[in-house]
């Protein structure tokens, strides 16, 4: 058997893959958080719940309307994004004039309320969501067995991250977003409807979280608590990456997912805390985060 650093190669690659998958979810979620924070200056505590809603929407669409995974992958982010737009327009936007703490408290309260409601309706235990038939099974790469769905998650998350990055860095709409992140009042004085831009941004972040949720549904189980379980780690990712940079959020997500996976191979006892240890070290050495600009 091939060994690497005294570890069977199989185990090493297996954990690397799991790290990449977790990293994909971290990247998608911290990306959305960073986009929302950049423009709205709101720390969106409801992000985990929006991820959970994405998974639930896919499951409920299947149960009640027979809508399959492929349509759910598009519909669920749209539905959750629309929900986000309504929340932003009618509730969150009223808080911008107050201290930023109010936005944080509001989204935190929203998260607790929604999570509680789903626990009440569906119980705390998870429900399975089947891997779509086209992506079932696995393939033997010779050096390891790759479940096809997991490979799909890694590829499609990466594409979604790159797509979002391109949207923000290379399009006209993206230039409005970047400019409004720097100076919203001036952008509005130039004739851009910034309030609508804020609504769109919040919906985009929520939609990305829901997209991650649908991708996650067949990997983990669909449960009301799935959001809170992951969001704490994602906040740590954001702290490590720094709030300022979109690309930073993506890269840090993947890096920390992989770091977590590899720790499971070399020192399993630490795998649950490694991200927080890295966070503590980064906070000590570079408080603005790896990619953050010093404020």
């Amino acid at each position: 058997m091939t060994m690497i650093f005294g570890i069977p190669l199989q185990a090493f690659l297996g954990q690397l893959l799991i790290g990449l998958i977790n990293g994909s979810f971290y990247a998608l979620l911290s990306l959305g958080l960073a986009v929302i924070f950049g423009l709205l200056r709101v720390i969106n505590f409801a992000h985990g719940v929006q991820y959970m809603l994405g998974a639930f929407a896919a499951m409920l669409m299947l149960q009640y309307f027979g809508i399959n995974y492929w349509f759910a992958l598009i519909l669920s982010p749209l539905v959750v994004g629309l929900f986000g737009a309504v929340i932003e327009r009618f509730l969150l936007s009223r808080l911008y004039k107050l201290d930023h703490l109010y936005g944080l408290l509001f989204t935190f309260g929203l998260a607790l309320t929604l999570e509680g409601t789903f626990r009440y309706l569906y119980g705390a235990s998870g429900q399975p969501y089947a891997v779509p038939a086209q992506l079932a099974g696995g393939t033997n790469l010779g050096f390891m067995f790759l479940p096809i769905y997991r490979g799909w998650v890694v590829v499609v998350s990466l594409l979604a991250c790159i797509g979002t990055w391109l949207l923000i860095e290379k399009t006209k709409l993206g230039s409005y977003l970047r400019a409004a992140t720097e100076n919203p009042v001036l952008v509005q004085a130039f004739g851009v409807n910034v309030p609508v831009l804020l609504t769109f941004t919040y919906a985009l972040g929520a939609g990305l979280a829901a997209f991650a949720g649908v991708l996650a549904a067949p990997v983990y189980q669909v449960s009301p608590l799935m959001g809170s379980n992951i969001i704490i780690v994602v906040f740590a990712v954001v702290v490590v990456g720094g709030m300022g940079s979109i690309m930073g959020a993506i890269l840090t997500g993947y890096m920390l997912g992989i770091a977590e996976g590899l720790t499971k191979v070399f020192y399993p006892e630490a795998s649950n805390i490694v991200i927080f240890v890295i966070m503590a070290i980064v906070l000590l050495l570079r408080p603005a985060g790896l990619f953050g600009r010093d404020a």
Partner: protein, 234 residues
């Protein structure tokens, strides 16, 4: 005087509790170039920002092209035909020069096409793909003006466009504003630099304590020079 494009009467404005504009009255005729003079802190910037609609705590009357502007939301003032070049220039660091240039939406026909802008400001063309804030102060000011020219607004509002710039650049900005004037653009600017202002302005307003205290045409500038120097403390 030309047909009035901007009419401001009894304009008051506040920053929270602090009352800064105390009944500003002024008129800007179509095609005119008007300069507001005044000591530091008398409310010149506030006047411009209130007209543009950035400061919302305001009372009185602002008529632009006959239209009452007080109820118009900020993102609609540009569409009414008012373009703004702020004192701090407002060049975006995360946007390239070209993205900065094309950021403000075109609001009316008759704006300057981008090729013509690049002819007028060759530096900007050369550096179109570098980040906006990598330009020198003078180039950033040119960019701040250029991006408004594209939009086709009727009134260009500038806050101290020559502040902190080298004499050559100041002269260049003067030429640009003259070119605009020849094309019929209406300009309202705040300026501390008399020499610069006297070359382009048709009329002056002198501001003190949140009001316009006098108004005179450029022809009267020489005879008023002494008093102005005293009032402005320059």
């Amino acid at each position: 005087m030309a047909k009035p494009l901007l009419e401001v009467s009894n304009l008051n404005a506040w920053y929270g509790e602090s009352h800064v504009l105390h009944g500003v009255n002024m008129t800007v005729g179509e095609g005119e170039t008007i300069t507001i003079l005044g000591r530091n802190g008398v409310g010149k910037t506030t006047t411009l920002r209130t007209i543009v609609g950035i400061i919302r705590e305001r009372k009185g009357e602002i008529r632009f092209d006959g239209k009452d502007m007080l109820g118009v939301p900020l993102h609609k003032t540009a569409h009414a035909g008012i373009g703004f070049v702020p004192e701090e220039r407002g060049i975006f660091s995360t946007l390239t020069v070209e993205e900065n240039l094309t950021l403000p939406p075109v609001v009316a026909q008759g704006g300057m096409p981008i090729e013509e802008i690049y002819e007028l400001f060759p530096n900007l063309k050369e550096r179109r793909s570098s980040p906006g804030t990598k330009l020198s102060g003078g180039e950033q000011q040119m960019l701040a003006i250029a991006r408004i020219l594209r939009t086709g607004v009727k009134l260009l509002i500038l806050d101290e466009p020559t502040e902190g710039l080298a004499p050559v650049i100041v002269q260049r900005i003067g030429e640009v504003l003259k070119t605009l004037k020849e094309r019929g653009m209406t300009v309202l600017l705040v300026e501390q630099n008399f020499r610069f202002a006297s070359r382009i302005a048709d009329r002056f307003y002198l501001m003190d304590h949140g009001q316009m205290v006098s108004e005179f045409p450029v022809s009267e500038l020489p005879q008023r020079m002494d008093t102005l120097h005293k009032v402005l403390g320059v």
